[in-house]
């Protein structure tokens, strides 16, 4: 029952390419949506459950991407090892960064991550010897999964969607674990959580580290999928988009975050036809969602559907008294 949504999601993901074979939009945009799902689901653990905002999440995404790109192109590391190194680096950095800040109550983390994101972006642009500067790094080798080299849009769709499903499954389990309950408690009332014996600074740090790991993981996949990384993919705009996905889908809901990621990815694709008016329509839609569905698309729409359902039942003449 708890995993019903997960299976539905998995089935949809698996059926889409079969229903629309050789369809560029499904496979390529789908893969892009899948990466965003990993990022948003991870960020939701921090925003929705620990009640903290990261405005520099693109930095961890970029860290994973650059770790994979640099280690494989310049040092010839196997791709999985580079991926692991990226995860470790992002996790350690997130921990060292959050530990002192999260001792403080309030939204100091948001401010600090904003600065962090900008600093990491500046390093990507300036450390040309390592990162290739604004031109980026090309020629990232394909992802090598124990001898199988991932190539072609359809294979990438499969790998990224499998990773996205793994992220959703991990998130669902984390939320339902003692740590997840502790996080929800921190979000509800920090004092009350402390009175349960929750080390709130530690719980928030853990959430931050886990969300950074999700982002770095997505980053590694992204670097291999694109075979190219450049600073543009990891700037402040991207961080803000990630926050938007989580809020758009609905805070504190794993499927909400996933839906937000998919919706925003599709929206950006759909709005390309409007060219100059893209940002205008984008902004207007977001405002409309926030005004009319303040709990987010997923939560808001499921509730609306439930209300509609019960209204239909009520309007029908009752058969039994």
């Amino acid at each position: 029952m708890r995993l019903a949504g997960f299976y539905a999601f998995a089935a949809t993901v698996a059926l889409l390419p079969a229903l629309f074979p050789d369809n560029y939009f499904v496979v390529v945009v789908g893969a892009s949506a899948g990466l965003n799902v990993i990022l948003a689901v991870g960020l939701n653990l921090l925003m929705g459950y620990a009640g903290q905002i990261s405005l520099g999440h693109a930095a961890f995404f970029g860290l994973g991407a650059y770790a994979s790109a640099i280690l494989t192109t310049r040092f010839g590391w196997p791709s999985l090892l580079a991926l692991a190194a990226g995860l470790i680096a992002a996790g350690l950095l997130a921990w060292a960064f959050a530990r002192p800040i999260l001792r403080l109550r309030g939204h100091y983390l948001a401010m600090a991550t904003l600065g962090f994101g900008v600093i990491v972006h500046v390093i990507m642009v300036q450390a040309t010897g390592w990162t290739g500067g604004p031109d980026g790094l090309a020629g990232v080798p394909p992802l090598d999964l124990f001898g199988w080299e991932v190539s072609g849009d359809l294979q990438w769709y499969g790998v990224i969607m499998a990773a996205a499903l793994l992220a959703v499954w991990l998130s669902l389990n984390l939320v339902d674990s003692p740590v997840g309950r502790a996080l929800r408690a921190v979000h509800g009332s920090e004092f009350a959580a402390q009175m349960m014996g929750v080390d709130t600074a530690r719980a928030k740090t853990q959430a931050f580290v886990v969300s950074a790991l999700f982002a770095a993981f997505a980053g590694s996949l992204f670097a291999h999928q694109q075979a190219f990384v450049s600073p543009d993919s990891f700037d402040l705009t991207v961080s803000v988009e990630l926050v938007t996905m989580v809020v758009l889908g609905g805070l504190a809901s794993t499927f909400g975050a996933a839906c937000g990621a998919i919706a925003l990815t599709l929206l950006q694709q759909a709005l390309v036809v409007f060219e100059d008016y893209e940002m205008l329509i984008h902004g207007a839609l977001l405002m409309a969602v926030m005004i009319f569905l303040p709990q987010g698309l997923f939560v808001g729409l499921t509730q609306a559907a439930r209300r509609l359902g019960s209204a239909l039942v009520r309007s029908r003449p009752s058969v039994a008294a």
Partner: protein, 253 residues
């Protein structure tokens, strides 16, 4: 980490040895000095009440004891150990559990999940947790009926029961109760206080902070009167109930 585990339930027999010793404790509430030079003692197995009006410093005192507010001077000793500068989660692990003023249940979580969170520190001891959860449900049968319901949808009295039950799952050796009667109908106050007495009889040491002086002193063994952040008087509860000054100021007759 494992040494953080609180010992089992204290023996029901109230021994003379003191569990909590507070000496010369002062603390601030924001910029205001809210408690001055508090001396306080709670013996193992006792039920002690601290009564006082609004703004007397009752909540600040409890928050300082459980580490939510820093102490500016003085010392807090729990079971012989100096816990004055400990962080809250360590104090909870040592065995002091507080039921916060205004319940503060986790509204979006179910009754059951709230209780599970109460046992956050004891999560390795699954068997004990399950038994204790059932004991809480026996203590408050209404919670058993609503175990799947979201805590935010409970009535005030039920939330208070949940808050107390949640604290019990932390395996308290000393239970701090902050205004459990707040905003409750007289009948519910009676029910809550009956449970407090029952818990104490089972051996839980309790420090009860209350504005409802009459109800608190009626069940407590000893009492402290807190006035503008200082201990104005301390005596066995029965004596305080009979004291003319106390009657005029807090009991209203």
């Amino acid at each position: 980490m494992p040494s953080d585990r609180a010992g089992g339930c204290p023996s029901a027999a109230a021994t003379g040895h003191s569990l909590l010793d507070v000496m010369g404790l002062s603390g601030h509430y924001g910029p205001v000095r809210a408690i001055h030079q508090i001396d306080l003692r709670v013996g193992a197995g006792e039920l002690v009440a601290i009564v006082g009006g609004n703004g007397a410093g009752k909540t600040t005192l409890l928050h300082t004891l459980s580490g939510l507010h820093p102490a500016h001077a003085g010392q807090i000793r729990f079971d012989g150990r100096d816990i004055t500068r400990w962080l809250p989660h360590r104090i909870v692990a040592a065995g002091i559990c507080q039921v916060l003023e205004g319940r503060q249940v986790f509204a979006p979580l179910s009754v059951e999940d709230n209780l599970r969170l109460g046992g956050y520190r004891q999560h390795r001891d699954r068997g004990w947790l399950r038994e204790e959860r059932e004991r809480v449900y026996t203590l408050f049968p209404i919670l058993a009926e609503r175990r799947r319901q979201l805590a935010g949808t409970l009535s005030g009295g039920q939330q208070q029961m949940l808050a107390i039950g949640r604290a019990l799952l932390g395996r308290p050796r000393l239970l701090l109760l902050d205004e459990p009667s707040m905003g409750l109908a007289p009948l519910l106050v009676e029910e809550i206080f009956r449970v407090i007495v029952e818990l104490n009889q089972r051996g839980v040491t309790i420090l009860l902070v209350e504005q409802n002086a009459r109800a608190a002193l009626a069940i407590a063994g000893r009492g402290y009167i807190l006035e503008t952040g200082r201990i104005a008087k301390t005596a066995p509860a029965a004596e305080l109930l009979a004291d003319d000054d106390v009657r005029r100021a807090y009991l209203g007759y």
